[in-house]
């Protein structure tokens, strides 16, 4: 178990190091998020009430599309030089490879979100009133779910020719429950509501989604990697 966790960390560290050197997906995801947020702010002249009703949805649609750019690179990063073969042939358990990929994906998506949130605040005239860090908390829970499901389907589609197209097509429908929860909680926080009162069910939905898909992924990944 300890070996598996330390191997997962080594793989995550390798992915983060190579991504921060090349910035292949990070630049694309950050640029995409910022451009969409800015364009939407110019495209719609929203009043305060309208903004409150759609802000959560808008933010999470942007995060979701940006995340696809990050998770798409998860396993395809191993394709040049057949590095995935070397990882799978090594004693590292399949779940460690997956966990390393999910951790790296989580960190990179969180970076995109942490850069985008202040920009969202500026262009949409958001008064955080202490909600910023609670939104980051909700984002962290939802992002783990995106990173986990994204990493699994990144492994599934790694040898598919049109994987950039295939991954979002498979990924988005599965993420609908998670997306609903994240949108509701973010909207509630922007409306200065608590996420622990009436919205508690949405929070539990996010946590349950994370737990179920993480367990499934850890269990199934060997059957995906070795065929």
């Amino acid at each position: 178990m300890n070996y598996g966790l330390s191997a997962a960390w080594s793989i995550a560290w390798k992915d983060l190091r190579t991504e921060l050197r090349t910035k292949e997906s990070l630049n694309a995801a950050v640029s995409f998020s910022l451009v969409v947020l800015v364009l939407f702010s110019f495209a719609f002249d929203l009043g305060r009430e309208e903004l409150r009703s759609i802000a959560g949805g808008l933010l999470w649609m942007v995060f979701l599309f940006a995340s696809a750019l990050i998770v798409n690179r998860g396993f395809s990063r191993e394709l040049p030089n057949d590095c995935l073969d070397v990882l799978v042939a090594s004693p590292v358990p399949g779940w460690s490879i997956f966990l390393g990929k999910a951790i790296a994906g989580f960190v990179l998506i969180m970076m995109v979100e942490l850069i985008s949130l202040p920009v969202f605040g500026i262009f949409y005239n958001i008064h955080w009133d202490g909600a910023f860090w609670m939104i980051v908390f909700v984002a962290a829970i939802a992002t783990w779910g995106i990173a986990v499901v994204g990493s699994v389907f990144s492994a599934v589609t790694v040898n598919v020719r049109l994987r950039e197209l295939m991954l979002p097509v498979i990924l988005y429908p599965i993420l609908i429950p998670l997306l609903l929860g994240a949108m509701q909680l973010t909207g509630a926080l922007l409306n200065r509501e608590s996420i622990f009162g009436d919205n508690n069910a949405w929070l539990r939905l996010l946590i349950a989604f994370d737990l179920i898909y993480t367990s499934l992924a850890l269990f199934l990944i060997d059957f995906i990697l070795v065929v």
């Binding site: 190091r17 040049p80 073969d85 799978v88 042939a89 004693p91």
Partner: protein
């Protein structure tokens, strides 16, 4: 003692049987050259031995353990078609990463020794993507032999190597074989392979049609074995 034991191994790609009941035993400390024409099933078989692919039927054991067991994979060094190193990491970072994944007691020392062995100490901090093809191949060799494996599986190891890399690989393979390491290599470059091989197996359309010790005829005439079996069918 048997290092690799494959019994009645079948593998299908769709309906096509790429391997048809391959049964092969590799003695510990031997060097097996796995020969065969393109599409004969050499790579498929090596991938099953390396635990990269599951057999549809049959049993594969590596050093007494099933091929997908962690214990078996810990003892294997694998060098496939790709070099298996990360372009955006330095030579040293690549070997340190694999040293950690292989749980070596001192990954840094092992990495330094491996780089010296393949003559890449001078460029240890250079990015793999900046290396010439020959240097990248030598880094791949260092990676495959980093943990001094008990068994190495090599898929076309001499293909597109420069003279220096061929020499480095042959030297390391010879030293490893002499130290008791078991080697299984698929190859088309029969002359280079025969210099090292103690045993030869010929795969023909997914079946082993010959397995036995290397003979003087094979060494003198690389095409001899193909004429005996492959081209007759």
């Amino acid at each position: 003692m048997i290092a690799a034991d494959a019994a009645d191994v079948w593998k299908y790609f769709g309906d096509y049987p790429a391997l048809r009941g391959v049964t092969l035993q590799v003695a510990k400390g031997s060097c097996l050259a796995l020969l065969g024409r393109n599409g004969a099933g050499k790579t498929t078989f090596l991938r099953i031995l390396a635990g990269l692919s599951r057999a549809a039927k049959g049993d594969v054991k590596i050093l007494g353990a099933p091929a997908r067991d962690e214990a078996a994979r810990r003892k294997i060094g694998y060098l496939g078609h790709g070099i298996g190193v990360y372009d955006d990491l330095s030579a040293m970072e690549n070997l340190l990463l694999f040293g950690k994944l292989l749980q070596l007691p001192d990954p840094k020392k092992a990495a330094e020794e491996s780089l010296e062995r393949v003559g890449l100490t001078r460029v240890r901090d250079g990015m793999a993507r900046e290396f010439s093809r020959g240097m990248r191949q030598r880094l791949a060799i260092a990676r495959a032999f980093l943990h001094q494996p008990e068994m190495v599986l090599l898929d076309e190891p001499f293909t597109s190597l420069d003279d220096r890399a061929i020499h480095v690989l042959q030297t390391i393979l010879r030293e490893s074989r002499d130290a008791g390491c078991t080697i299984v290599m698929s190859t088309h470059q029969i002359r280079e392979a025969m210099e090292l091989a103690t045993d030869v197996a010929l795969l023909e359309r997914g079946k082993i049609v010959h397995q036995g010790p290397q003979t003087p005829e094979m060494l003198a005439d690389p095409g001899w074995l193909y004429r005996q079996y492959g081209e007759a069918s």
